[in-house]
């Protein structure tokens, strides 16, 4: 790192992923100290998280193990009967790679019991229930001295590709400001097993589901567009002029708008002089003196 480091002008093209490139060593250092400091400040001493066998939770597991020591991280692998066969082996590979304990807690019995007797249920609704079932287990297992970590990346958060109070719920999220493409880059550098990085991303809520199949575009396409649109505040008209597909721009902007409710605290109706969230504004890291 030198004083005289110069930057080249940013290129903007749908095929150019170069602007997304991160310094993995720097980002890892920031995220590990984030997890360590923000955890210890609350008085918690353990971190609890879902380990699905996918790349996002693998990266979070690596960071958590480095931040608090692997003995203070509990991973939960929570399969439903349709969960892909290789997910378990991948979750075990994450446990081995980072030395954390990963416990298996199946959710088939309770999910099936709940839906038994109901007419045919939409698979999205099933998926939401599974995501919330998993999260309720993570919160239960965090009691009394642990915090639940989120593993949703910036692409998912912006697109609203997640279940409110399900996989999106957490005490804190170390990877929510990294696009999927950046997270894959970080995964390689923190030592996530190659097979996990290379398999197609999937929420694994039903057989054959893939993120990119369900979204209708690739993460590479979305990430480069989101980077210019969100991080660099480029206008849609200028993105289109730079060669980005106008339909994709419109689809992604509408997803961001429609799903914004998932990214904010619930609304509180203001009637008093001072209202939580409106004009009663204290930092979350409000420390005891």
């Amino acid at each position: 790192m030198t004083v005289d480091a110069e930057r080249a002008a940013i290129r903007m093209s749908p095929d150019d992923l170069e602007p997304l490139r991160i310094d993995e060593v720097l980002v890892r250092k920031m995220l590990v100290s984030f997890l360590r400091e923000e955890t210890l400040k609350t008085g918690a001493t353990r971190l609890v998280m879902g380990v699905s066998g996918g790349v996002d939770s693998a990266v979070v597991a690596a960071l958590a193990a480095e931040a608090l020591g692997p003995e203070n991280v509990l991973g939960l692998f929570t399969p439903y009967r349709t969960t892909a066969g290789r997910s378990k082996a991948d979750a075990e590979a994450v446990a081995r790679a980072f030395g954390i304990r990963v416990e298996e807690v199946p959710i088939t019995a309770q999910v099936d019991a709940y839906f038994a007797g109901l007419p045919k249920v939409d698979r999205i609704r099933m998926g939401n229930k599974m995501a919330r079932e998993r999260k309720s287990i993570e919160y239960d297992r965090s009691w009394p001295d642990g915090l639940v970590l989120g593993t949703s990346n910036k692409t998912e958060l912006l697109l609203g590709y997640g279940t409110q109070f399900g996989d999106l719920a957490c005490a804190m999220n170390p990877v929510g400001d990294l696009y999927k493409t950046q997270l894959r880059e970080l995964a390689t550098s923190v030592g996530v097993p190659k097979g996990i990085i290379e398999k197609p991303p999937s929420a694994d809520l039903w057989e054959g589901q893939t993120d990119e199949g369900e979204l209708g575009f690739t993460y590479a396409q979305a990430d480069v567009l989101l980077y210019h649109l969100v991080d660099r505040r480029v206008r849609p008209v200028d993105l289109a002029a730079a060669g980005f597909d106008a339909t994709l721009i419109a689809t992604i902007r509408e997803r961001i708008r429609r799903n914004h409710f998932k990214r904010v605290m619930p609304l509180i109706a203001k009637v008093s002089l001072r209202t939580i969230g409106h004009d009663f504004l204290y930092p979350r890291d409000w420390e005891a003196d």
Binding site: V3, R21, P283, W286, E287, D289
Partner: protein
């Protein structure tokens, strides 16, 4: 002459704990033989205070600040606090204590209220840019955003300063586009530019630690009037940074490179006055 920077991580809203923390850093700085220790912006309170600002505010003569005044009998100290003025306005303030007394207070003039910053919601702006005598020479204080406005270091240098103290709470951000932290690169460029072109020492004291998910990146540094890096602290880690201030170097640089001598503040004044429709006569 040696000065020290306490690149520390204050606790948010916990003034008693922060006072204890200051005592520890002051003792460490003293042990190095430094004549002055500079703390970052709002070092006694933490930065993202929001509504806590009113709770931790104190007047310049508040007894809560007495331990700092007391410690300044042994070593000069510059530290940050929330000042409640006599007319009950809140300011982001940086004090300079020496010989058991508060000698100077600078109130942050430029309050960033955009992006991740909300200073203008909770604080009032300062309206003075005064130089004062520090152990390291005639000095001016620019708190964080103050330094990003080139009129601030300019007016200090034009007012006779040979040192600019720049206490900061600079959040680290901008990791994409190939590496180096965006804010760090900008700050280093500013420090060096002001130091070299105004032929002053720039003492950049940035904090570390996290508040509500935001990381302060550290990287405190002292840049000499020749643009050289006298000392630079690590990023994201606590560190006591010690650097030598050489007043002779200021003299040598200003002899070699008399930009400041030839500067025309009278011309700046006249141009601005005319632009504002004020008639200036001799």
């Amino acid at each position: 002459m040696k000065i020290a920077i306490a690149q520390c991580a204050p606790a948010l809203g916990a003034m008693k704990r922060n006072l204890d923390m200051h005592r520890e850093w002051i003792a460490k700085a003293q042990a190095t033989g430094a004549a002055l220790v500079v703390f970052p912006e709002l070092s006694l309170t933490g930065y993202y205070l929001k509504d806590l600002a009113a709770d931790v505010a104190c007047s310049a003569d508040d007894p809560r600040l007495a331990p700092i005044a007391e410690a300044s009998r042994e070593i000069d100290i510059s530290a940050g606090f929330v000042e409640r003025s006599k007319d009950a306005k809140l300011h982001i303030a940086q004090g300079y204590w020496s010989g058991g007394r508060l000698r100077h207070v600078h109130r942050k003039v430029y309050l960033p209220t955009y992006g991740i910053f909300d200073d203008g919601r909770y604080f009032g702006p300062g309206d003075r840019l005064e130089t004062f005598e520090s152990v390291a020479g005639t000095a001016g204080i620019a708190i964080c955003e103050d330094l990003w406005h080139l009129s601030v270091p300019y007016l200090y240098a034009a007012g006779g300063a040979s040192v600019i103290f720049a206490p900061a709470d600079s959040p680290g951000r901008g990791v994409a586009e190939g590496g180096d932290l965006g804010t760090a690169a900008s700050c280093r460029m500013m420090d060096r530019f002001y130091a070299q072109y105004l032929t002053v020492y720039v003492v950049f004291a940035n904090r570390v630690g996290h508040e509500d998910g935001i990381a302060f990146w550290g990287g405190s540094e002292v840049i000499g009037p020749d643009g050289a890096v006298c000392a630079r602290a690590k990023e994201f880690e606590e560190e006591l940074l010690v650097a030598d201030i050489d007043r002779e170097l200021i003299a040598r640089e200003r002899a070699r490179n008399p930009l400041l001598r030839d500067e025309r503040p009278d011309l700046v004044f006249r141009v601005l006055a005319e632009r504002m429709g004020v008639r200036v006569t001799e």
